[in-house]
């Protein structure tokens, strides 16, 4: 047995009842989460290949930012009181709105439950109520993420976009597999006009891998969707789901493409989870499981070091083991992109991310850049000169001397000068850790004002909703006893 | 005051010593004059309360000031106290009483009249200079305090005029002014009144500031 890192509460992979669990470091420096179900026996899963990284990362405390409203009482204990309850540590930074159960694919790796017979669509009035709840909770709603299913299959999809825009949401993202976009140029054009962004799943360039992961050949369609979004100035976040031995060797190529395509703003790498209708049956041995730090190391290998582990910081708005974030400055002269951490201290980047999940122009960022410029200026390193030159060009774009630009143009210039790489590790029943869950800031938002962390939603709560399940499950007797509850508090 | 009346605005004013002049002004302009001794705290309070009760004004000018052409050795504690009472405290009491009331009515302008913007170096009577510094610093803070309710507070720092308080300045100082100021002359009440009227009626975006109208010194 190895060294205990921390106790927590997890779930049985079969019956999903809450179980006390231990996270330990083994001799080979790997980190394992172990638990035992009275009915289904002992279970353990590897959480990380690097105990030192795991411990150091977990030690980063997220900025305390509890939700203003907690509609659910603390009753069963985490994770059975979501809504949120008073023990939750983070307000919603990324509101996720599931607007349809319909999907035009049936991906083996899909981690959500969808249902195409008797499809359910959210009505617009319900979305209006959700926005109102969010406004009450957050003051302003600057970001909303639509998901499904495939959101474009909602017959009134455009109305949702307009409602969001009219409510002042300035960053609307739509999760999509891209098939619809590839075939529907006017739709892409309209998205551009409305300033909406697409979160495009993109797992591989290899047709064979494609078939294994998504069930059909989609590469061509996705590249076409990328071309069209570029043509109509629609910003894109690429969402590759990393599966070990399948596509993890492609991460460098995907990142390179992201750097080259001007409208790709972010890459959000997910680690595979075995939840959802696809996820639970795909790869029964779960050999494709990959941990956060492995993804970071694969990135370093496949980018030949222009992006490494040290370039990532945790998100201050979430549990550190959930989000790792790197920002990169693009070199207009064609040199490799420069991670922000190469010209500012990691703490500074971390601090700049405290307000929002994404980096936005702020006083903190400006100060950090100003410090960076001074430091680069007094430095003798050759790389410093190149970076300073890039920053000079950026300032020139923000404050052009030969013409007046609007604030919107300036913001766009600023956005286009950099790219972000997020590594986001969702949890499934195996890896479930209530300590992480209670610091989640991505929540699925419902009409009744409840907000449920997406991992809890996908693993537990969605099953309760008839809209998504052929045979909805009752809540059952899964919640823990008093002892478990105390563990949850401790977490 | 005549500059305001000339624009067809209803004006009230107060006076203390120059009864004959006050009457003449009332007759000439139709403005209502009231006697008020600014060193009489109770009277000032009562007056301000009455003004608030009648409905806060849109514009308030504070022009009252006292000084004596005395050297440092000759200044008494009473001179000091009286200058502070009239030049400083009365302006403070006025802004404290009327500022919020004006704000409650939707905002307005207070213009304080003084003599220094803290940029000049002049051999002024010490007690007078002290109150002028007080007034200009107070203007800055009043601007901050009353800005949020939409009341602007500014000060005009006047150069010596051929009348009024300038007669309480040392004669040599007035002569120097005539010789060395940019315009090489003293001002007139009429022309500085136009500056006051401009600030009181046309300014919408400046507050807490001292504007000089002094012929350039």
């Amino acid at each position: 047995m190895g060294a205990l890192l921390h106790p927590t509460t997890s779930l049985c992979r079969t019956c999903k009842r809450a179980l006390p669990a231990l996270v330990e470091a083994r001799e080979d420096r790997s980190v394992w989460l172990s638990k035992s179900c009275p009915e289904h026996g002992a279970q353990s899963v590897r959480l990380s290949t690097d105990a030192a990284w795991y411990a150091a990362t977990r030690a980063v405390k997220p900025v305390a930012s509890a939700p203003r409203r907690t509609p659910r009482p603390v009753h069963f204990g985490c994770p059975f009181d979501c809504g949120a309850c008073a023990q939750h540590g983070q307000k919603v930074r990324l509101p996720v709105v599931t607007i349809t159960s319909a999907c035009n694919l049936d991906c083996p790796i899909c981690y959500v439950y969808n249902k195409n017979d008797g499809t359910w669509h959210m009505d617009v009035a319900a979305f209006r109520r959700i926005l109102q709840h969010l406004k009450d909770d957050l003051g302003e709603v600057d970001i909303v993420n639509f998901t499904g299913g495939e959101p474009f299959l909602h017959p009134e999809f455009m109305t949702f976009l307009e409602v969001a825009r009219d409510a002042g949401v300035h960053r609307v993202t739509i999760c999509s597999n891209g098939l619809f976009l590839a075939k529907n140029e006017p739709l892409v054009k309209r998205l551009g006009e409305l300033g909406a962004r697409v979160a495009l799943s993109f797992d591989t360039f290899d047709p064979q891998t494609d078939v294994v992961l998504q069930g059909s050949r989609l590469v061509e369609a996705k590249l076409r969707a990328l071309d069209l979004t570029e043509k109509y100035n629609v910003d894109v976040t690429l969402i590759p789901v990393m599966t070990k031995g399948m596509n993890d060797h492609e991460v460098g190529a995907i990142l390179r493409m992201a750097m080259e395509r001007p409208n790709v703003r972010h890459v959000e790498l997910h680690t595979i989870t075995y939840t959802g209708q696809g996820g639970t049956h795909f790869d029964p041995s779960r050999s494709g499981r990959i941990s956060m730090v492995e993804v970071l190391d694969r990135i370093a290998e496949t980018t030949h070091g222009w992006l490494t582990r040290e370039d990532f910081v945790s998100s201050p708005c979430a549990h550190p083991l959930c989000y790792q974030i790197a920002y990169l400055l693009l070199d207009p002269d064609g040199g490799p992109p420069v991670p922000f951490t190469r010209f500012m201290p990691r703490e500074a980047l971390y601090a700049c991310l405290a307000e929002r999940l994404y980096l936005e122009p702020s006083r903190a960022l400006e100060d950090a850049l100003q410090d960076a410029m001074d430091r680069l200026w007094v430095s003798d390193e050759p790389e410093a000169e190149r970076t300073l030159k890039i920053l000079r060009q950026l300032l020139g774009a923000l404050f052009p001397r030969d013409r007046v630009i609007t604030r919107e143009e300036a913001l766009r210039a600023a956005e286009r000068a950099s790219k972000a790489v997020y590594v986001h590790s969702h949890m499934d029943e195996d890896t479930f850790d209530v300590e992480r869950l209670a610091q989640c800031c991505d929540s699925n938002c419902a009409e009744d004002g409840t907000t449920i962390p997406v991992c809890a939603y996908n693993v537990l709560y969605k099953e309760k909703e008839a809209e998504f399940m052929a045979a909805p499950r009752s809540w059952g007797e899964r919640s823990g006893d008093v002892k478990l509850r105390r563990l949850a508090v401790l977490a | 005051m005549r500059a305001l009346v000339a624009r067809g605005l209803p004006v009230d004013f107060t006076w203390c010593e120059g009864e004959a002049r006050a009457r003449a002004l009332s007759e000439a302009t139709g403005a209502v004059g009231r006697r008020l001794d600014l060193t009489d705290r109770a009277a000032l309070q009562g007056f301000l309360r009455a003004v608030v009760d009648e409905g806060a004004p849109d514009v308030v000018l504070h022009c009252a000031a006292v000084s004596q052409a005395r050297g440092l050795q000759d200044l008494t504690d009473d001179d000091w106290d009286r200058a502070v009472e009239v030049n400083g405290r009365s302006a403070f009491a006025l802004c404290r009483a009327l500022g919020p009331a004006m704000g409650a009515r939707g905002g307005g302008d207070i213009v304080l009249v003084g003599a220094l913007d803290r940029g000049q170096t002049l051999p002024l009577p010490v007690h007078f200079a002290a109150t002028q510094g007080m007034l200009s610093a107070m203007t800055m803070a009043l601007g901050k305090a009353l800005g949020p309710v939409g009341v602007r507070v500014n000060m005009v720092a006047l150069g010596p005029l051929g009348e009024g308080l300038s007669r309480a300045l040392p004669a040599s100082l007035v002569e120097d002014y005539r010789a060395f100021s940019a315009l090489r002359r003293l001002g007139t009440a009429e022309e500085v009144a136009r500056v006051l009227a401009w600030l009181a009626l046309e300014n919408t975006f400046m507050t807490g500031r001292v504007v000089t109208a002094n012929g350039g010194i």
Partner: protein
Amino acid sequence: MTGRLEGTRCLVTGGSRGLGRELCLAFAREGARVAFTFRRREADAEDTTLRLRALGCEPQCFQGDVADGAHAQAVVGALTRAWGGLDVLVNNAGVQHVVPLALLEEPDWDLMLNTCLKGPYLFSRAALRGMIRARKGTILNVGVFSSERIVEAPAHYAAAKAGLRGLTDALAREVGRHGVRVNMLSPGLLDVGLGRMLMPHRVEEYRAQAALGRTGTAEEVARMAVFLVSDENTFMTGARVTPDGGL
């Protein structure tokens, strides 16, 4: 009804857009004759001209660089021939360039100082000959709030505008005895120029700092300027007027 600047002959440098344009329009509304200069933005200059015409004012419009002495001479010469003289000069032309010292190169410095400081000197000198001869006239230098106190501003910009303040004071002293007045107007963040380009959080910061809780409009600042250059203003010279919302 006659305007407050009826027949007054006004020249505004950098008048094709922003505050300069609003000054031209405000002066024209009060019956002034208006001329303005611009450097590059022909379409904007055309637009200003059309707006002035709509107010019944036929403007004179000159293209050139304020830091070019020959240009200054030519503009003032042409106006003297056309109008017989000049009553009001507003030195408004400027450049907006935001850059920290680390990136502040010599050409940036020169461009800034030339436009914001040498330009006003050249135009003032050209205009003052006629004004002193006529023993009448006024110059208004447009500064900026960052020259009034220490706020974050690019060093070359702050230096140029502080220099302009010195120029204002010195000129006021020097030409006051000829009946010519020189004042400075230093507005805060407005709905034109820098105020339109800055990132939202900077504008928010400004609002939070300003006692009046808002940024200004070019129009209200231009309205204040009317009095400063008019004949109503006889005793203010060497003065600084800082409409900045109470920073």
